[in-house]
């Protein structure tokens, strides 16, 4: 009966025909890849393509010299927090349009403040800036940003259908100004956030006016994230010239360009160093705290810090593990298996809600436990041992997470999230992560693969260090932080720990209120309040992405 209460039981029953507590099963009887509808579809397509192009391609019989995958059950996966079951293949980044949309939405975004250009217009050029002129500017820039010409005659322009995803919106903490902004261009803080969060955000943002520019997705794909602020700056400057009737070339224009390119720009991600060189707005420079702000679950579920952590964690696993490590830094198909462990089959959900209950009972609520090492030792130990016991009581669960690094990630994530929501402190959370790792190692006598757990045996030493060259608050670390730059199965979880800590404190944002508001945007196709539902839609092929090229290619 106890088993029936576990959140992961439904998924285990769907994945395997035996009782999840059974230790024995049968192998080698499943007809290999043919048991999978998705792989059968792949083979069918591959055979068709081989005929068309004259070059053979995908052929699962090539696997291990004729021993195809599928010597055991090729299990389906339940997307956690949903009722949707999918095949593992549907969760590879390349096979999932929603995952690609998620990253495209980050990469194509920069936030550009309007205060400096407005001061320049008023003080230096003697122009009047009013809500009316701002609305006029917004109409112009929404023509220019996607690829419309505004100043010169006889210009080539971009087909609007190719760049239908591109637009500019603004937001401010000043209700009076917000009221006068054309609603088509406004991210309305009062409408998008619960009242307490809205008040906190408006106070932090103040009277400043920020524009969120969504550069066409196809631009980011054609170049890279580094171009986004350049494209945005070019079109913003041109729109300013057109809107305020400026001389195109006077010295003041250089200052507009400087403001739009640098001074007022908030990039979503920073540059990475030479050996992993990428421009800004690429995943290697996306801080965990920024991602925790980009994910919007906290405004929809303000009383459920576990849900906030889990949704952020899932988004992070896709961006950091599947995309950054799995595609940018490595390539191929291996990384998906690591990343999906934290957002499938309700396993991490079960572990996290268990430890959240433990925290509530023992410490009287979230963010109420003393911020001490005793709390870390207590909560992380309980989360780790509980999770290990589940893997051992339910062999089907152990088989689901058949890799040690999957189990290590999931247990350490539960420990980190549990400690973070107990204390309301992300640093305590990540310290709990590290305790989980060494406890797990001594318990099972195994952990992850060669490089996976190396960082986990020394990370506790810098988990409370902020000084340069010694550490950094977890909120500002990212996959380019020295110890985190090398392997899979950690970074999404760290973003989840950050999100959980701040959600437990009922903070309206984690690091940057401006980033938080920029993604509270109902015009985005990817619903940032529910990343896991979006992945499920992508897996079911029900997600229609932006940035397609249909307008300029033959009908198909």
């Amino acid at each position: 009966m106890v088993a029936e209460k576990k959140l992961f039981i439904d998924a285990l029953k769907k994945k395997f025909k035996e009782d999840p507590t059974e230790k024995q099963t049968r192998f080698y009887i499943y007809d290999g890849w043919k048991q999978s509808a998705r792989k059968r579809e792949f083979v069918e397509w591959a055979q068709k393509l081989a005929k068309e192009r004259g070059i053979p391609g995908y052929n699962p019989e090539m696997h291990l010299g004729g021993i195809p995958v599928g010597q055991r059950v090729l299990m389906p996966y339940k997307i956690s927090g949903t009722d949707v079951y999918v095949e593992g293949d549907d969760l590879h980044y390349i096979n999932n349009a929603a995952m690609q949309q998620m990253w495209d939405d980050i990469r194509r975004t920069v936030i550009v403040g309007l205060d400096a250009p407005h001061a320049l217009l008023e003080k230096r050029l003697g122009k009047e800036v009013t809500p009316e002129t701002i609305n006029q500017y917004l109409e112009v820039v929404n023509h220019a940003l996607p690829g419309g010409a505004v100043v010169q005659e006889h210009m080539v322009e971009i087909h609007p259908a190719l760049v239908a995803d591109s637009y500019v919106k603004v937001f401010t903490g000043n209700d009076e100004l917000a009221d006068q902004i054309d609603k088509r261009f406004l991210i309305d803080i009062n409408k998008q956030f619960p009242p307490e969060q809205a008040e906190a955000l408006k106070k932090a943002i103040g009277k400043s006016l920020y524009q969120v520019t969504r550069v066409p997705i196809i631009v980011g794909r054609a170049a890279d994230g580094g171009t986004i602020s350049r494209w945005s700056a070019m079109q913003i400057s041109m729109a300013m010239i057109a809107s305020y009737k400026l001389m195109a070339g006077e010295a003041a224009i250089a200052e507009f360009a400087y403001a739009a390119k640098h001074a007022e720009v908030i990039q979503m991600a920073t540059l990475t160093p030479w050996r992993r060189a990428r421009g800004p707005n690429e995943p290697g420079g996306l801080a965990f705290g920024y991602l925790a702000d980009i994910v919007q679950t906290s405004r929809k579920y303000p009383d459920d810090p576990v849900k906030v952590a889990l949704e952020t964690l899932a988004a992070g696993s896709v961006i950091y593990d599947q995309l950054w490590f799995g595609i940018y830094m490595s390539g191929g198909v291996g990384f998906t298996q690591y990343a999906t462990a934290v957002y499938t089959d309700d396993i991490l959900d079960d572990f996290c809600y268990y430890i959240a209950d433990y925290v509530k009972k023992k410490y009287g609520g979230f963010a109420k436990a003393p911020r001490t090492m005793d709390t870390v030792l207590d909560v992380a130990t309980e989360a780790t041992l509980y999770g290990l016991e589940q893997y051992e009581r339910f062999p089907a669960l152990m088989e689901t997470h058949f890799g040690g690094s999957q189990r290590a990630s999931v247990l350490a994530a539960a420990s980190g999230v549990g400690t973070a929501i107990a204390t309301g402190d992300a640093q305590a959370g990540v310290n709990g992560w590290y305790l989980s790792m060494i406890l797990h190692k001594e318990h099972m006598g195994r952990l992850g693969f060669y490089g996976y757990d190396q960082q986990d045996q020394l990370g506790m030493t810098n988990s409370f260090s902020y000084r340069s060259d010694e550490g950094l608050p977890l909120e500002l670390r990212g996959v380019n932080y020295p110890n985190y730059a090398m392997n899979v199965g950690h970074s999404g979880e760290y973003a989840g720990i950050v999100a959980g800590a701040h959600a437990a404190c009922k903070h309206a944002w984690c690091v940057n209120p401006i980033v938080k508001v920029a993604f509270a945007d109902p015009s985005l196709k990817f619903d940032w309040t529910e990343p896991r539902k979006m992945f499920a839609k992508g897996a079911l092929r029900e997600f229609f992405p932006d940035g397609e090229r249909d307008a300029v290619i033959p009908p198909h």
């Binding site: 041992l385 051992e392 152990m398 088989e399 058949f402 890799g403």
Partner: protein
């Protein structure tokens, strides 16, 4: 073999814990403890299973014997007696094990620690589902024989797998055997023995290699170095649990508040 083994001394492995699991870890790590021999596998069969050379074939070398090489003056070289394989210039080759989570005698970390404590000239690797051990070829064959013939091996719960190692965490088959996608071994129902029909990387063997009968689970539970809730739980071994917490606390404070760590 004596030139490869570390000699047991007064210093014993100080692994914490009061349970049988902790006791087994200390025992297997201790070079002064003689591993119990449970089965016999011929030298030729060990060579077949490894798949690096055919039985009787000369060892390939990567450099001339050290005696002919004329080594430079070096105090470390004077201190450390080379193993026979190193002296001869053998290639470095491997054996790789997969240990089931279901009460296999060893787990990857314990396997690596054991290799460091007991043998000279080893390069063990530690992953969750496999544990490679690299050595000079003739040294490796001797160590592999000991690892296969003694209590640290079980034919059903330990696999010799060079590649496609997947299986350590999967449920067991109807004969209690660990999953192996390459089906390197079969269970002979007539004799109750496990028979390798492929070498460790999956190349079919002309002559199958018998590695003996699987041990009963109750016996494995007494031999294992793995904590499990249905065996010995870490919760039941507070000495180990508290030691891990102490290590964590010391490492944390040493990087943050060294003066506090020094007082612990």
């Amino acid at each position: 073999m004596s030139e490869i083994k570390v000699k047991g001394g007064k210093y014993k492995p100080a692994y914490p814990g009061q349970s049988i699991v902790a006791e087994n870890r200390r025992k297997y790590l201790d070079p002064g403890y003689e591993l119990k021999k449970l089965r016999s596998i011929s030298d030729e069969d060990v060579v077949r299973l490894l798949g690096h050379r055919v039985p009787g074939e000369a060892y390939k070398s990567v450099h001339p014997p050290l005696e002919e090489l004329g080594e430079p003056a070096c105090p470390i070289r004077e201190l450390v007696e080379p193993t026979p394989g190193a002296k001869a210039g053998d290639r470095i080759r491997y054996i790789q094990f997969t240990d089931s989570v279901y009460f296999a005698p060893l787990a990857p970390y314990v396997r690596s620690w054991m290799a460091f404590w007991r043998y000279r000239g080893v390069d063990p690797g530690t992953l969750s589902g496999r544990a490679p051990l690299e050595m000079r070829e003739r040294d490796l064959e001797l160590v592999a024989k000991e690892l296969l013939e003694t209590e640290v091996f079980d034919p059903a719960r330990v696999g010799v797998r060079g590649a496609t190692v997947h299986g350590h965490s999967l449920r067991l088959d109807e004969n209690g055997m660990m999953f192996d996608a390459l089906r390197r071994y079969t269970f002979d129902k007539k004799t109750g023995e496990v028979v390798y029909v492929k070498d460790q990387v999956g190349v079919p063997l002309d002559t199958p290699v018998r590695v003996g009968k699987p041990l009963p689970e109750e016996q494995l539970k007494k031999m294992t170095t793995i904590y499990r809730v249905d065996g010995v739980s870490t919760r039941d071994d507070p000495e180990l649990l508290n030691w891990v917490k102490r290590i964590h606390l010391l490492r944390t404070l040493a990087g943050f508040r060294l003066e506090k760590a020094e007082k612990l």
